[in-house]
């Protein structure tokens, strides 16, 4: 099995620290019983940071102690501040509009959580499903969820059932609207195409990890006149969604969806932490590009060799 090399371990530890740091800062602004969670987050930062840095005995422990101290200091000294700002993401704002459209037209909606089993993109898609199902239950709009995985099917069914119960209309939930079609890629696609055409879907949501069937689903949705909102971390499928869907959520906006829709301070804090982590990565990339450019001009100095540290062994 692969294990982290020293630069990978330190980089992962640093990026994770950024994310957990902002989560703790957001948590510290919350009243109530959040200290247990803060302690858990702190322990996790320690556990991630220290083992990875142990590989460099002269450097690791001092850096681990400094990180942990900074962490603890920030959590305890964080003041109750302004709510964290998140920019508008048109695709996610359009979800309410799409649900409203289906309600007014009296036609159902369809939500495809992608082809993957229970992975991170699918988990995120299911969190978006919960939000959409909550609105659908409120407006008594039917939502059909075809799945390509048995475990995803069971979780989607539970999410939908709970959403209807929370709105006080558990009898509105139709278990046949949550279906397992097939785990075969094109059998699933043809099943979804059939549903889109037979049910004359008014709004189509495509969130999750898609493969070649993405264009089939998106184009068929366009042909039946459905309003489509799509989001996937699969870079190869994003162009297809951009051309065929009305709104597309690109890249890490997909993982920001749960924070954007729920506005939970913890999730917003994590989002800000992601931006810090991205800033660190951009800095490393720029520094590496400048170093490589200098080395490309034939200049040789020992400090230019720091980029070799990031190369795989």
């Amino acid at each position: 099995m692969e294990h982290a090399t020293v630069p990978v371990a330190i980089l992962l530890a640093t990026l994770s620290f950024c994310i957990l740091y902002k989560i703790c800062q957001a948590l510290s602004q919350q009243p109530g019983d959040s200290r247990f969670i803060m302690l858990l987050v702190f322990l996790t930062a320690l556990l991630i940071g220290v083992p990875s840095l142990v590989m460099r005995p002269c450097v690791g422990p001092p850096i681990g102690v400094i990180l942990a101290a900074l962490f603890w200091f920030t959590v305890h000294r964080a003041k109750r501040g302004k709510p964290l700002y998140i920019r508008r993401i048109p695709g996610l704002s359009a979800i309410d509009e799409a649900v409203g459209r289906a309600t007014e037209m009296g036609r159902p909606m369809m939500f495809c959580p992608g082809l993957d089993p229970l992975t991170l993109p699918t988990l995120q898609a299911l969190s978006i499903l919960k939000y959409i199902t909550g609105i659908a239950a409120k407006y008594r709009t039917r939502i059909i969820v075809p799945t390509a995985d048995s475990v995803v099917y069971t979780i989607a069914e539970e999410i939908s059932k709970e959403a209807y119960s929370n709105e006080g209309v558990p009898e509105q939930f139709n278990p046949e609207d949550i279906r397992f079609l097939s785990n075969d890629q094109f059998a699933y696609a043809s099943g979804c195409v059939g549903i889109l055409n037979r049910e004359r879907v008014a709004s189509n949501f495509l969130f999750g990890y898609f493969y070649a069937e993405s264009l089939i689903l998106a184009e068929t949705g366009h042909q039946v006149g459905a309003m489509q909102v799509a989001g996937t971390p699969a870079i190869t499928q994003i162009p297809f969604f951009i051309t065929a869907a009305d709104y597309t959520i690109i890249g890490d906006e997909f993982y920001a969806a749960s924070a954007y829709l729920s506005r939970e301070p913890t999730l917003l804090g994590s989002l800000v932490g992601q931006d810090y982590a991205k800033a660190i990565l951009v800095f490393i990339i720029l520094a590496g590009a400048v170093t490589a450019t200098i080395a490309g001009f034939g200049l040789h100095a020992s400090w230019l060799n720091w980029v070799q540290w990031f190369k795989p062994a």
Binding site: I19, P121, S150, V151, I216, I238, T243, D252, S262
Partner: protein
């Protein structure tokens, strides 16, 4: 014996205590089922004993422990000889056990299909003949699959090949081929000269598509193959567009996506994904 069965066969007490190592496979299957029912029953009973206000915390702690095993195993360096540390064996066994649990969930998917099509058939909904076709195809494929694995008869292999290669694979290829037509209709809508950026995208798409096919290479074959001017050849232009500006955008998006995935993984590991799968308060 199947490796998964062997792994699970180490569970006490039926399979470990009562069965001999060379027992037939059906005894192992019965023993494993008995062990699952017994261990599962004990675990559920213990969970039932936990006070309800501690249950979410208990589940969060279990989730944390499960994630901790994987993360510590990844971060700790492996042995120089076999690249393993003291947790690698455990991680591999957990992975196999997870696959087995996943296989059990497959039955739920089949149940969903049977329930949906069965209820449509029972109520004779419009298009009920399609639901009947599902049952016929299901039964036929089930029979063909079991027959081909349990029998060495040529007829069994032929039937399986006919159904899988001749029908299922062919239908999948048919669906795949419709993508070509959908691409044309999507491209017809997308590649319009509406703005400067759209025009640039149209030109880039034109160059890249022509650079992939022999006729594109033929169109600029009059240009020299080496030197500065050779960069204007369609195949070289296409290569440059795909591997320089396109790759930069690709990698930029990948960085953002992977950071987002890291953040989500951390939130899920620490049970901080509030309002999505968990209630507001943990």
């Amino acid at each position: 014996m199947h490796p998964a069965l062997y792994v699970l066969g180490k569970l006490p007490p039926f399979t470990h205590g009562l069965l001999k190592p060379n027992a037939p496979w059906w005894q192992w299957l019965l023993g494993i089922t008995g062990d699952f029912l017994l261990i599962g029953g004990v675990l559920f009973f213990l969970l039932w004993l936990v006070p309800s206000r501690w249950r979410k915390g208990f589940i969060a702690a279990l989730t944390f422990l499960a994630g901790l095993i994987y993360s510590v195993e990844f971060f700790l360096p492996g042995d120089l000889k076999d690249h393993k540390n003291f947790l690698t064996g455990l991680v591999q066994q957990i992975g196999k056990a997870t696959n087995v649990v996943y296989a059990f969930a497959l039955g739920l998917g089949v149940y969903s299909l049977l329930r949906f099509h069965g209820s449509a058939l029972a109520r004779k909904r419009p298009g009920w003949h399609n639901n009947l076709a599902f049952f016929v195809a299901f039964a036929l494929m089930l029979f063909a699959g079991f027959w081909s694995t349990s029998s060495k008869a040529k007829a069994a292999e032929n039937l399986y090949d006919l159904l899988f290669v001749g029908v299922v694979a062919a239908l999948g290829s048919t669906m795949f081929s419709t993508i070509g037509f959908f691409i044309v209709s999507a491209a017809y809508r997308a590649f319009r000269i509406r703005s400067g950026e759209a025009t640039l995208m149209l030109a880039a798409a034109f160059v890249v598509m022509l650079g992939q096919v022999p006729i594109g290479a033929y169109m600029t074959s009059f240009l020299p193959a080496t030197g500065l001017v050779s960069n204007l050849r369609l195949e070289n232009l296409s290569y440059w567009i795909l591997n320089k500006p396109n790759m930069a955008a690709w990698r930029g998006m990948s960085f953002g996506i992977e950071i987002g995935a890291l953040a989500m993984a951390l939130r899920t590991w620490l049970s901080l994904e509030r309002g999505s799968f968990f209630d507001k308060e943990l």
